[in-house]
């Protein structure tokens, strides 16, 4: 899976699971945590999604609100662990 496909996959999941309002349009840079679209409790389900989908293990210390704050940030985080 290339980076663009990864972005698309994560973006679709975020929209499907966390964005209730059909009129809200998010981009790869839209803040997810600091904007309140994804709260700190829900972040855990996003983490599980990433770990399942990409067969990686992200340590709790790296699963920070900042690391999850946009699709681009998430892709960067996932890439770190895909390379390991």
């Amino acid at each position: 899976m290339n980076v663009n496909e990864m972005k698309e996959l994560i973006m679709n999941y975020v929209i499907k699971e966390y964005i209730d309002d059909d009129d809200v349009k998010i981009t790869y840079e839209t803040p997810l945590i600091s904007s309140g679209y994804v709260d700190s409790f829900s972040m855990v389900s996003l983490l599980v999604f990433l770990e399942n989908k990409f067969r990686i293990k992200i340590p709790p210390s790296k699963a920070t609100p900042e690391a999850f704050d946009s699709v681009n940030n998430i892709v960067a985080l996932v890439n770190q662990y895909l390379k390991q």
């Binding site: 997810l32 679209y37 855990v44 599980v48």
Partner: protein, 570 residues
């Protein structure tokens, strides 16, 4: 209005204490009209503070607004007029289902001014959580935002009492369904004078929902007289003064967000600020610095999250304006107190109270000796004790672990569980209100928290009912049986964990685990979502078939399992 400028000792404040102290300061006399909406806005204006800033609001992306006390007075009148125009009358339940936008705070005043009962609900609630609370309360109107409308629409057909869905932000008229009404405060004609409902001390005011071990959530009904202890505890415990900038980080969907995020500070005429965006240490420190926050009331979960973000980030901000810090929601661990002394130069003061108590019961006063890890001492006028769980009588000696209990009679005590007299009565034994929490008291009268006396899960300061989660899990197509307990969590103290057996044809796998997590998150709330799911071949049960949650709880917490003689064998 002159607020308490000096810290008097605990003994001085407690000696000969009566709630008349607050009644006198609020110019209230027994038998007179008392309306929280009026006290929080009109009265402050009449005292000469109409132009003083009441609310500094900041939403995501730096959107900010300010409202003076005259602004919130007029907004309350305008919203009250609108509601009355719909036919809302005294005693009707009007739900607030919004993020922390200004309309939430202003509608709170407007509803109270009409004499209706405010029913605040956390906007992250899923449709099932929303439904059971609206159904139980027989809610007549709900005020919400377009972003939450889908959840309301999904359950609307099952709620015959719900006549009006009021949307406060942008939505095209053509998109409104029957019974949906658009109300834009900015577009409404400001109402200078409003005939405020002459509510009395025992008139119902606020209806907050809280979770118990069994059964559906209970509606905790408060009255306008709650103002008396909310006012005084805000003044003495949170130490608010005329020139303070106060920041309560709680959402008004929970009781802290109304008792101390609206009623307390505004009845004192203090400027408060609200940040409506997701959590990040950077954003919180920036907000405190920008607004020169002086008094900060937050929760241990948030404090631990700030600790996790590290000490270096704190140095990037000028937080010298902070004068007093307090905490509520769950036990404040001693490490957090010591950390705050190190990075802010002052400790967080722990406070203990509940949705049912309506105001602070046990606390560390400013100036009082703090024992890190202790909840502090009872507020003046509050008679507290620790009961022997076998006899429901107070222990005669110090240091014994038992049930925290209070003598009923403080002003903000709940007056009922909505439509549930039986559950309400169960909260009182031998003339004591049972808090459901356990603690010990030391020789100096300081309370030391031990834990819940039931299976309710306190996650991030919010109570989650294992029963509610277990019931919702059974609605998932793959789940045969479920048991829910807590497991330790570094930030939230504890989080929800689910143990599940599957129906034939389903096999455990990570995607199913995620599906179950998301199912609960959407139906109930993110707080109730199991942060871990463990698939089991069978759940531990008694021979009579009752699931033994305590066995699972003990396993998660590394505790002794205790008596398992009733455990079902193969």
């Amino acid at each position: 209005m002159t607020l308490n400028p000096e810290h008097r000792s605990y003994e001085e404040l407690s000696g000969n204490f009566t709630w008349a102290v607050a009644e006198k300061e609020l110019d209230y006399k027994n038998g007179e009209v008392i309306n929280i909406g009026w006290y929080c806005s009109d009265r402050i204006c009449l005292k000469g503070n109409a132009a003083k800033v009441a609310l500094i609001y900041e939403g995501f992306g730096g959107i900010s607004r300010q409202f003076t006390y005259d602004d919130i007075r007029i907004a309350g009148n305008t919203i009250g007029t609108f509601l009355r125009g719909l036919g809302i009358i005294e005693g009707d339940r009007v739900c607030l289902f919004m993020d922390r936008i200004p309309e939430l705070y202003l509608s709170f005043l407007g509803i109270l001014k009409t004499g209706a009962i405010v029913q605040p609900l956390f906007s992250a609630f899923g449709e099932e959580s929303l439904f059971v609370r609206l159904e139980n309360a027989g809610t007549r109107a709900i005020i919400t935002q377009k972003k939450h409308l889908q959840k309301v629409r999904k359950i609307r057909g099952k709620l015959p009492h719900l006549e009006y869905v009021i949307i406060v932000d942008e939505i095209k008229s053509a998109d409104l369904a029957a019974g949906e009404v658009l109300f834009r405060l900015d577009n409404a004609a400001p109402v200078e004078n409003f005939d405020i409902c002459p509510t009395m001390a025992e008139t119902p005011s606020v209806l907050h929902y809280t979770s118990g071990t069994t059964g559906q959530p209970k509606g905790v009904q408060h009255v306008h007289y709650s103002l008396i202890s909310q006012y005084l505890t805000t003044k003495w415990v949170l130490d608010l003064r005329d020139d303070d900038i106060y920041w309560c980080t709680a959402d008004p969907g929970w009781v802290t967000g109304t008792s101390y995020g609206i009623i307390g500070p505004w009845s004192l005429g203090v400027t408060q600020c609200v940040l409506d965006s997701g959590f990040s240490a950077q954003a919180w420190y920036r907000f405190a610095e920008k607004n020169r926050v002086t008094v900060w009331y937050s929760a241990p979960t948030a404090i631990r999250a700030l600790m996790k973000a590290g000490n270096e980030i704190v140095k990037s901000f000028d937080l010298s304006s902070l004068r007093h810090l307090a905490s509520v929601g769950e036990p404040l661990n001693s490490e957090a107190v010591i950390w705050s002394e190190k990075v802010f130069g002052k400790p967080f003061h722990d406070t203990f109270w509940q949705t049912e108590t309506g105001s602070i019961m046990i606390t560390n006063f400013p100036g009082m000796k703090i024992k890190p890890g202790s909840m502090g001492r009872t507020f003046p006028g509050i008679t507290g004790t620790v009961l022997d769980p076998a006899t429901f009588r107070p222990y005669p000696e110090h240091g014994r672990a038992g049930l925290i209990a209070f003598r009923p009679g403080w002003p903000a005590m709940m007056r009922a569980y909505w439509n549930n007299e039986e559950k309400y009565r169960e909260k009182f034994v031998n003339g004591w209100y049972l808090s459901g929490d356990r603690a010990s008291i030391d020789s100096e009268g300081y309370y030391w928290f031990i834990g819940r006396d039931d299976d309710v899960i306190n996650t991030g300061g919010h109570l989650v009912s294992p029963f509610e989660v277990e019931s919702a899990l059974l609605e998932h197509p793959a789940v045969a049986e479920s048991a829910v307990t807590s497991r330790p969590d570094e930030i939230n103290m504890e989080v929800v964990k689910a143990f599940i057996t599957l129906k034939p044809g389903h096999t455990p796998d990570p995607d199913l685990e995620l599906d179950i997590m998301n199912f609960i998150r959407k139906r109930l709330s993110p707080l109730a979502m199991p942060q871990a799911v463990e698939f089991m071949d069978r759940l531990p049960k008694t021979r009579s078939g009752k699931i033994m949650r305590r066995v699972l709880h003990a396993k998660e917490w590394g505790e002794e399992i205790g008596d398992i003689s009733t455990l079902e064998n193969d």
